[in-house]
Symmetry: C2
Subunit: 229 residues, 2 copies
DNA sequence: TATTGATGTCTCAAATAATGAGATGTCAAG
DNA sequence: CTTGACATCTCATTATTTGAGACATCAATA
């Protein structure tokens, strides 16, 4: 979830971008999804549109603007470029939702996601910022931090230093109902130059993921290797 | 160039994003590139960092943040996806700089660019917003507008309705020193579903492009077809 | 070793911008 | 024809943002 950055207009603008990144939104949808009052949402969306960060579709709904894609297309991030394909393969291999997360400040950003077409499934929108205090991906992104940073990150977390010792020992994390009731997840680290640069995860109903079969761990390991490049 | 949207914080924030999208920037670089005062640039950059729109590299310089790439990776735009490869092929085929532009409001956005490694060359940063009043790409993006919109767009333009008649007749535009002294360019439209959705361009020193050889026109035509999909 | 200048970060009084209630216009549904 | 929902706009009021200046850090120079 988005934090208060101390600059109100930026907080609101990012909420709008996040709302339209999820799917095209009418002004009424924007108001619903962001909680911003209608004239303010309208004014800020138009300002973002002026700069190309927001566009309009043929129905007049607000969409992500072309400038966002242009900026990120230039000097692209190799991990981001690989992530989209990797989560699709991982979802197909495991039958549950797959995601890739990276650390952003004291939160985690969903950089890619793929979910099964039908059935009970966990949905995480791409571009969403989630907590680093709960969930298996949070454990993986925290476990290999330098000790002092790890200490800070553990404050208020749903997992303990002992949990992280186990994550480092076996190389993966597992959580049940930590981020969301009824959802279990498994995550592995993605290594690059001796650092954990991302976490690759599967998540779904706890019935599917209470135990962590070797086949899922193998699929995650393959995915992590593909992401590392 | 960026316009005044009526929301000052958004105008400044986009200037910061544009500055870091070009290349990593220290705070001093940000102040130089944006003209924003140092404490303000610092405060806004940190706020953008909180939301993942700006990051920091290992030298502490501000960079484009991972959330931008994540947002645009989801539900990607096929033209944007093809543009990066197409401009590289076009540059190699012609020996001059190549770009793809799309219309954003009453400006044009550079969505992809490739330039020769050496020699005199025209540089357009990806993500830059340029005028629709001058240059061959502006002519191409204007020529096929509905008559009333075209009329409005021609106001204050460096080209005339007659110029646009010629563009439509022959299917390409050529300009010499319109956007920048000493630079000539040639552009073709990219069609999709009966609309001009982009312009594909080459640009360089006017010595190279005063006349428009058939080989350059052919390379542009191929590029436009590749972009159309 | 001390000085200087550049850089990054932070504070808070002053200045300015942003906000949102309400008005207005448009349009689809009943 | 009426009604309600939606998009857009205005401007008095409210709140936020600004940026000069202070402070800390660090590299370069004498």
């Amino acid at each position: 979830m988005d934090k208060d950055s101390g600059v109100g207009v930026i907080d609101k603008s990012v909420a709008i971008l996040d709302a339209v990144a999820t799917s095209p939104a009418s002004l009424a949808d924007l108001v619903d999804r962001t909680g911003i009052t209608r004239p303010t949402a309208h004014r800020l969306a138009q300002a973002l549109e002026t700069h190309g960060l927001v566009g309009r579709d043929t129905l007049g709904r607000f969409t992500l603007g072309p400038r966002i894609a242009a900026w990120s297309a230039d000097g692209g991030d190799p991990l981001q470029a690989r992530a989209a394909a990797v989560v699709v393969e991982l979802r197909d291999a495991t039958g549950v939702s797959a995601q890739v997360y990276r650390r952003v400040g004291d939160q985690r950003l969903c950089v890619a996601a793929a979910e099964p077409a039908a059935g009970l499934r966990d949905t995480v929108p791409v571009g969403a910022l989630l907590t680093l205090k709960a969930g298996s991906a949070a454990q993986v992104l925290t476990a290999w931090l330098p000790p002092r940073e790890r200490s800070t990150a553990l404050r208020g977390a749903a997992f303990t230093a002992s949990d992280l010792d186990q994550v480092r020992a076996r190389g993966w994390a597992h959580s049940v109902g930590q981020r969301e009731p009824g959802v279990a997840s498994v995550s592995l680290p993605v290594w690059s130059d001796g650092d954990v640069v991302a976490a690759v995860s599967v998540s779904g109903p706890l019935e599917r993921l209470t135990r962590v079969p070797a086949s899922i761990r193998r699929a995650l390991k393959d995915a992590a290797e593909h992401l590392a490049g």
